[in-house]
Amino acid sequence: MFIVNSPVVELSEIQKAIFLQKIKSPEIADQILPGQFLNIKVTEGYAPLLRRPFSICDVEDENIFLMFNIYGEGTRILSCKQKGQLLNILGPLGKGFNYNTDFDLAVFIAGGLGAAPFPYLTRKLKDKKDIISFVGGRTQSDVIKYNFLNYLVATEDGTEGFKGNVIDLFEQEIKKYLNRRIKIFACGPNGMLKALSDSLKRLNNLTNNITCEISTESAMACGFGICQGCPIQDANNSEHYYLICKDGPVFNVNDVVL
């Protein structure tokens, strides 16, 4: 956990309104793991005041990648950075995915910009494990397939692939693999994560071979545990909140209340 000023190398639009920012940051690249995030100061001054958190999207040699859309002022400013301009980056932050555990089949589930952490995770797992990916969105243009392997698409409006939400697609498809030791890695809107945990309750009647980790989100002030601004309910202790920035953002689906 440290602060570095790293230069923007380039910004590419991987699909309409979805940007991939390449940043040269050997220090971060060297240490960060899939599912962790960075808290980025998008201006020299203090407007906006707070840093903006972004998942590590991918790492290639000395370079790191962020994936984002233009959501508000901070991401707009970020998207305007010229080659060579420095970003003040705080990280690596949080606990990432535990992908070195015992399983045969990695299942990735991404909703919309929840796709962001998977290129890096794919890079880490593609030679070690089988991977199937489920990628969802409201409509075709929301679906981000960037660097997914072996993926199926679901859109709410049926403009591409399965018509319905990505969790319904997942639940129907996963049944083919219940004989294997499955580990699910999911990132997306809270609604999707909720649906996933419900789906898992149903599936657990059929198998106990599935473990699942989810990447969560919240407003954050600090990103490293000093402001207490990012609570999420501990599923096993009603009197305790986890901090998403420090205890997460990745949790075992059974450890938190969504």
């Binding site: 956990m1 440290f2 602060i3 005041l49 002030a221 000093i226 402001c227 207490q228 601004g229 990012c230």
Partner: protein, 306 residues
């Protein structure tokens, strides 16, 4: 080259420099110690602790605003026992004065906390939080009540020899009246200011952005308000003031000292730049050299109104 004496005193408390980290913006020091050597600081003020652990408010707890942020953490803290068992030992590793901030929902609770903590050596002073806007019990129903603040100060004073600092609420008509009551009841100093009550709503859901509805505004947005409160106190009450509110750089620190602060606290800035104290201390040193100020304490209340 001349050197500058950056040390300041608050009651019996001697600080190597006027830079304190504000309660609730550094936790118990663990995380921020990854970024900055705590022993360069004037002191650390720990997150408000209460007798029993507090879970804090439901999410969402923070909202960003123009040059500020609203927080409604709700005094989430580990409670007295774990604080002593788990947090104090870590802080003891550093040569830095610990100021223990205490929140409570009754006078008795304040007293009980301090009785327990008084024996803890590394705790050099107590900052009494009578001004948290984000809790139902205690908080502002104390901080906005002159008599209550007087009572609390008196009771707390009676059970400790250590430096007692009362952290005042800005959400009052005349903060100097509160500072006066603190002085009369034996407080060594006051901190000004805690956060300013504010709120924000989502125009699509029509719901408050904070689960607690109201929150406390901090950051550069409130700096002019904090400066005015410090100056108001300075001009009417003889008591050391610890200035806090929107400090983002060393220039802000000088401004707070000029209007009457003996020391200052860095709050929200810690979230954005946990190393800020380093450049601030250097900036203060250079400013003093440039202006032939031998001891930074000369700056306290050095305003010129002509």
């Amino acid at each position: 080259m001349k050197t500058v004496d950056l040390s300041v005193s608050i009651g019996k408390l001697k600080l190597r420099n006027p830079i304190l980290l504000a309660s609730g913006t550094v936790g118990y020091g663990n995380e921020i110690s990854d970024f900055i050597d705590l022993s360069i600081l004037g002191g650390i003020i720990t997150k408000s602790i209460s007798l029993k652990p507090r879970k804090g408010n439901k999410p969402q707890r923070i909202v960003e605003t123009s040059s500020g942020m609203l927080n409604a953490i709700g005094l989430a803290n580990v409670g007295l026992e774990e604080f002593i068992k788990e947090k104090i030992p870590f802080l003891s590793n550093y040569d830095v004065p610990i100021i223990c901030n205490i929140a409570a929902s009754s006078i008795e609770e304040y007293v009980e906390c301090i009785k327990t903590l008084d024996s803890v050596d590394v705790i050099k002073a107590f900052e009494i939080n009578v001004s948290c806007p984000n809790v139902k019990d205690g908080g502002l129903q104390f901080g906005n009540n002159l008599m209550m603040v007087g009572k609390i100060t008196e009771q707390v004073r009676s059970v400790t020899e250590k430096t007692v600092i009362i952290k005042l609420s800005p959400n009052v008509s005349y903060i100097s009246e509160f500072a006066k009551v603190c002085k009369e009841n034996g407080a060594d100093a006051v901190s000004a200011i805690n956060t300013v009550v504010g709120t924000a709503f989502n125009i699509n859901t029509r719901k408050p952005k904070l689960s607690n509805i109201f929150g406390g505004l901090s950051g550069p947005a409130i700096k002019p308000i904090a400066l005015a409160k410090v100056l108001e106190i300075k001009r009417s009450v003889e008591i050391p003031i610890i200035g806090v509110g929107g400090i983002m750089n060393w220039q802000d620190v000088v401004e707070f000292m000029i209007v009457g602060s003996s020391a200052i606290q860095i709050g929200t800035l810690n979230f954005i730049d946990p190393t800020a104290a380093v450049s601030i201390i250097k900036g203060l040193n250079d400013y003093c050299l440039k202006n032939n100020i031998e001891s930074i304490s000369q700056l306290t209340g050095a305003y010129i109104l002509e």
